[in-house]
Amino acid sequence: MADSMPQDAHPDAAKLEGMAHTDQYGFHLSENYAFRSEKGLSRRVVEQISYHKNEPAWMLQFRLRALEIAEKKGRPKWGPDLSHLNFDEIYFYIRPQDKKGTNSWDDVPEEVRETYRRLGIPEAEQKMLAGVGAQYESEMVYHNLKEVWERKGVIFLDSDTGLQQHPELFKEHFATVIPPEDNYFAAVNSAVWSGGSFVYVPAGVEIDVPLQAYFLINAQSMGQFERTLIIAEPGSKFHYIEGCTAPTYNSDSFHSGVIEIIVKERANVRYSTIQNWSHNVYNLVTQRAIVHRRASMGWLDGNLGSKVTMKYPSTYLVGEGAHGEVLSIAFATDGQHQDAGAKVIHAAPNTTSSVVSKSISKGTGRSSYRGLVQIHDGATNARSNVECDALLLDDKAKTDTYPYIEINEKTAHVGHEATVSKLNDEQIFYLQSRGLPADAAMALIVRGFLDPVAKELPLEYAVELNRLIELEMEGSVG
């Protein structure tokens, strides 16, 4: 298992740790594409995308309708500054020349593997990662689905292939959780979506090893609009993991995904994502789960990279006894604005939810928690608890908390708490007196702060997270 891999197996690890954090991803690989759309968002671009993907007519109609909705809606007037995000400079679709359907590690493009290596994922571990679906550019290029799952009827494809191979299943659930009317960026995604995962787990099937997909973007000014659709049939249980990293570029990049999850009765789904986009990416994502009777949905949302992130995983508890959980971590360093949070809608009796958010702001970084807890009339005995802790490392760092709580039910118990603090000087002093250098002491305290969330991660992610924090904290003694 990946868990048992020695962490120093990666040949570049020493080199990587020696790099200043600003140089961490200061490389990018050559561009190599078969087709890319013209820049900007237009009817013509949408039609081109649909044509290239050889889609059914209903999908083209859907895309065009979404484009109209986006044009009508306009961008949100709240939240982070998006004024530098210029659609006219963005390619909304690029198809890599690599062929589809590669199914062994050797067929994965060298560039992708190179990026993995530079990220410090040990080589042995890369091969051990079960069921990796790596998304390169706007399309899934690699899938390795364990045979045992296939026999159980599990579908784990990229969304384009999912649409081609399972048109009925796809059409039945697609855009039922997040219609294009939902918000501006969901509408944009609906118009130009490409790639993402299509996951279907039949009733009663439990998957022990997490389903994983890596996302990468690797072209200047290229947007990425993955569309993930996850269907958990009654009584199924699995963990889906998505992580993404991207090399640094000169001009702004744009990522806007839509993640739809349907958790049917008594199913149990966890969705974990850690994003570490390069610091020029606008990461504006809509993710939502509909949770039915006695089912459970857990989100783990880690936001480390990007220039601006707006992401509020939401959970609609629509069946009696449904449960939702969100663990959120955000790390904002110089120039970053992490506007993350969680939404939980209690629309049925005896539903429960818990949100834990931990954020760290460093340098001129700004992290915000923006959340909503809504208890509908008739959702009797609903319980919800939200905790937000923010850590400020510098005097220029900022943090905000905007939790909305709307209650229309007498028997609801809803609590919210938030604290803001700085690094404790006494703790640092103590650790220094035990021989730790100041930056190592700070890193240790930060890791301790994040521990309640980090321990919920699969080990390889936790290790990666810890390594990232160490890199961030290097030379941060002021």
Binding site: A397, I405, H416, A418
Partner: protein, 440 residues
């Protein structure tokens, strides 16, 4: 939701009529005219504006109402007279539809000015001119602009340097006529001075709709200390919008209490700005909505400089299909190090038809701070009710005890026992506790 509509009575002619009627000086006339221009240029809020998102706007409508010219008569009804008697006030003003109908007592300490605003403009023009509109001005909101242009009267309180006024002073704003009205309170507490002030709004049923706008400006200079109570208990045919804003100098301290009990709808915006190091602000709030009342509480704790302390506790209970919004934000400016800021909102829902929204927010721009906020909402705890019933209390009595106990966390922190007792009495009357009437 219906959009708010303009009221033709809010006009340049109305402003000129006020200026003529009160014989106001040029500077004030100019301020009013400028405020009216700002009013005209400011659109009404809609539910798309964040701070009005949960407000039932139509309940704050002003269209179709005439401007209130004055009271029907100058009688001071028992309800108000008893409040004066019961408040321990050393001196009190009763302002009825913009006219002073009673001046009770007088302030013993030399140099203290406590009078109605219209008189103050005449007798203490320089002081008023220096401070009026310096804390709440027309640019802050449509309602603030309306008030700045058309206020007819209000309170002016000035406490000179080093003077301590031992007993409370109070203004009782009341009405016997409906319409569109606007009043204003201006409190200036000079260096190291101390005072307690009660701003109460109350009336017998008026019989026609009153839309009252209030603006409260508080200036606390270095080391000044003020206890300020804003107590809204209008009859159910009134609505009120009140913007209370305070600026605190070095080591100044404000202890405020904002209470909403009466009216059909009421909105209180309470903002403190800590401008001098070491300033402190304790902000208490209490609301109890019943019979479909709609209350909005918006608070701002703005730490503009270092070493400030603010501690806010707003608690509310709701029943009979009522609605309430609490939204508050702690803002810590960059450089405002060593700030301590706390914010707590707790709500008790006594029936399933009521609805509460709680939005406690933080915007923190400095790192060496202690900030936290908390919010809870829920029903009367079943185990506590059960315990009380096991001791022989009837269910409704148990509920009375628990609601009173819930609000006691606020009332017990008010350092004015007479005010706490009155608030508790009104709450009990609303709960229908047998034998308790609001005015004893």
């Amino acid at each position: 939701m219906a959009a708010l509509k303009e009221n033709a009575a809010v006009s340049a002619a109305a402003v000129e009529a006020l200026v003529d009627r009160f014989g106001e000086p040029q500077w004030l006339a100019d301020e009013r005219r400028a405020a009216l221009r700002t009013y005209a240029a400011t659109p009404f809020p809609t539910n798309r504006d964040e701070v009005w998102r949960y407000t039932q706007l139509e309940r704050f409508a002003i269209d179709g109402l005439d401007l209130v010219e004055g009271p029907r008569d100058d009688a001071v009804v028992d309800r108000v007279a008893m409040r004066i008697a019961d408040s321990d006030a050393e001196a009190a003003l009763v302002i009825k539809n913009g006219e002073v109908v009673r001046r009770a007592g007088h302030v013993g300490q030399g140099g203290v000015v406590f009078t109605d605003l219209r008189t103050a403009v005449r007798d203490h023009e320089a002081l008023v001119r220096e401070h009026l509109y310096s804390v709440v001005n027309a640019t802050m909101s449509k309602a603030a602009a309306l008030d700045a242009a058309l206020w007819t009267n209000g309170t002016f309180l000035y406490v000179p340097r080093d003077v301590e006024v031992a007993l409370p002073l109070g203004t009782f704003t009341t009405a016997d006529r409906g319409g569109l009205s606007a009043g204003r309170t201006l409190i200036v507490v000079d260096v190291n001075a101390r005072v307690t002030f009660l701003d109460e709004y109350t009336s017998e049923p008026i019989g026609e709709r009153l839309a009252h706008h209030a603006a409260t400006e508080i200036v606390l200079k270095d080391g000044a200390k003020l206890r300020y109570v804003s107590l809204q208990n209008w009859s159910r045919d009134a609505m009120q919008q009140n913007k209370i804003r305070a600026r605190l100098g070095r080591d100044a301290r404000l202890e405020s209490l904002t209470v909403s009990l009466g009216g059909d709808a009421a909105r209180a915006e309470v903002e403190v700005r800590l401008e001098g190091p070491g300033a402190e602000s304790e902000m208490l709030g209490l609301y109890f909505a019943d019979e479909g009342q709609h209350f909005n509480q918006y608070t701002v704790q703005h730490h503009a400089t270092d070493h400030g302390l603010s501690d806010l506790l707003f608690k509310g209970a709701l029943r009979d299909a009522s609605t309430a919004v609490y939204s508050g934000v702690i803002v810590v400016d960059p450089g405002a190090q060593k700030t301590d800021a706390y914010q707590t909102n707790r709500n008790l829902l006594l029936d399933g038809e009521s609805e509460v929204v709680s939005i406690p927010q933080l915007e923190i721009g400095a790192n060496d701070v202690k900030c936290s906020h908390g919010s809870t909402s829920g029903p009367v705890p079943e185990d506590q009710r059960f315990y009380l019933m096991s001791r022989g209390l009837r269910p409704e009595v148990a509920e009375h005890v628990l609601v009173t106990g819930f609000l006691y966390e606020v009332t017990s922190r008010v350092t004015l026992p007479k005010v706490s007792q009155y608030v508790e009495r009104v709450v009990q009357a609303k709960l229908g506790v047998p034998g308790v009437k609001e005015k004893l």
